[in-house]
Amino acid sequence: MSERLKLFIYTDIKTDRVLFVKKSIKFNFFTPLKGVHVQALSTELDVSGIKPLYHTYDPLKGFQTASPTLTKKDQERLALLKRKLEVSVLLLTSIQIMKEEIKSSFSNEALQKTPISDTNFKKYWLFVAEEKIILLKRIKVFLKKFYDKLDSIHSISQVDDFYNYLQLNVNLGVYSVMNRERKAVGGKKS
């Protein structure tokens, strides 16, 4: 996506109520979460006054104050969707950072800086190209499983447990960590 400020508006499909808003210049925060409609606007609109659950959003009418009446069942459903979205955005942030790292680690510029002789460079380049494909496929499979699981959860505490489990038992940020500690032996490819 282009480097312009984007506003992601997440609304409940059934009531149009705003569940979450997210601004981002760099990353794409679309989510396939069930029951949620995501719209991305290229705008610098001030949304500081928009309170999740208290406003609605419609592409034609814009933001409007929501009706104060909401059934208890809907209140619970929307609170759960809101928490799922928050977790989803947190996870997508890690994934987007990982994608950025993959992009920069596997760029031609980065590869050319690796001090490998010309004789072996093609072999290395092909090896790395395969790794990039594997990683991107892995991300795709992971996100599918993540959303399937999130869609199947019925309580906020279960969402929190799930996210806590992921943070501790799934490596979500290995690329950044690796770059900080990297210490290569050898100089740069001239």
Binding site: P115, N169, V185, G186
Partner: protein, 354 residues
């Protein structure tokens, strides 16, 4: 039928949600990775769970002494691998000290005609970490990406995977890397009784966690092969006597690893030999000098002598295993019958009652 005295035992514990373990473990002060996963090889057993010991007890190792040098151990282990008589040997290579030492040993001591059996399992990180070694030695072999489903491929290809695991346990402990970073290299030679709790605090990132953890493991010093004096002495002994089994079987922690792919028939660790362990017990003076940079200097010298590349002395100890786990999920635990433990409730049956 189960024997009368059947006790449920774990082989390896992987879960990192110590929060969840609080509901089943009373000694919650120890619930920091890896202190909650230790399997004692001593008479004193601070283990939180019942484990089936699947590694040499220390008493067995100290029955005999050995005068083998580091190079002797590397040569013997490299040649011993050939006795397993596999057509395909896959070497897990991270570009770090342990796996580079392993590859140097194999390249130095295997007969030339056996080298055609070698494939190397690695990622682009491995190349970036040590490009000159890749360029000169690794690039000639068949390369297999470590992100592929290796355990299934091992079974299909009837190959043996050899890793550089357990090198750390021979030399010392990663815990001191954080200690040196926060408290300086001087910490290595400080009195263990005074400074180990601080080093543990630096490692866990939680102030005051260190004292309880240290006290939990302190009795191990009475079974050490020599008097424990410094923080380096203590953390090596802790790693060597308490963490060996966890590291040996932690390849199971990744859910992508197929449980049918077993230690001894599909995977081996290069440093898992009695000779290496006796070297560690008998050569404490050769593990580190007075800086973290000098950690594993004997292994780095072995690599530098083999490659004739003095830059190999600059290799730094870097966590490499986790890099292969991108987006992989960890198992909770695996029991002594190679069955996966699927919930904390199930895990409770393995808690050690003292």
């Amino acid at each position: 039928m189960r024997p009368f005295n059947y006790m449920k035992q774990l082989l390896s514990l992987s879960i990192k949600t110590s929060q969840s373990l609080k509901s089943i473990i009373s000694e919650s002060a120890v619930l920091f990775d890896p202190f909650d996963k230790t399997v004692s090889r001593l008479t004193y057993k601070p283990d939180l769970f019942n484990f089936s010991l699947q590694a040499e007890p220390i008493s067995e190792l100290t029955k005999q002494t050995s005068s083998k040098t580091w190079e002797d151990c590397c040569a013997d282990r490299a040649l011993n691998l050939l006795k397993y008589n596999f057509d395909n040997y896959w070497f897990a290579y991270s570009g770090g000290i342990d796996s580079t030492n392993m590859m140097s040993s194999v390249l130095k001591f295997w007969p030339a005609n056996e080298l055609k059996k070698i494939s190397v399992v690695l990622s682009h990180h491995s190349v970036e970490e040590n490009p000159s070694f890749f360029d000169k030695y690794i690039s000639r072999f068949n390369l297999i990406n470590s992100l592929l489903p290796i355990s299934k491929m091992l079974m299909t290809n009837k190959a043996l995977l050899v890793t550089g695991e357990l090198g750390d346990q021979l030399f010392g402990s990663d815990i001191l890397a954080s200690g040196c970073k926060v408290l300086g290299d001087e910490i290595l030679s400080k009195n263990y009784l005074d400074y180990c709790p601080q080093v543990i605090d630096a490692y866990t990132g939680v102030k005051t966690s260190g004292r309880k953890i240290f006290e939990h493991f302190l009795p191990i010093v009475s079974e050490a092969p020599f008097p424990i004096k410094t923080t380096h002495d203590f953390f090596w002994w802790l790693n060597f006597s308490q963490k060996w089994q966890h590291v040996k079987y932690r390849f199971y922690e990744n859910k992508d690893w197929c449980l049918e792919a077993k230690y001894g028939s599909h995977i081996l660790h290069f440093y898992d030999s009695v000779d290496f362990q006796r070297w560690s017990l008998n050569n404490h003076d050769l593990k580190i000098k007075n800086t973290w940079k000098s950690y594993k200097h004997v292994a780095k010298k072995f690599i530098a002598d083999f490659t004739l590349d003095q830059r190999q002395h600059d290799l730094l100890k870097i966590q490499s295993l986790e890099k292969t786990y991108v987006l992989s999920e960890k198992r909770i635990a695996v029991d002594s019958h190679f069955r996966q433990v699927n919930s904390i409730e199930e895990l409770e049956a393995y808690v050690r009652k003292t």
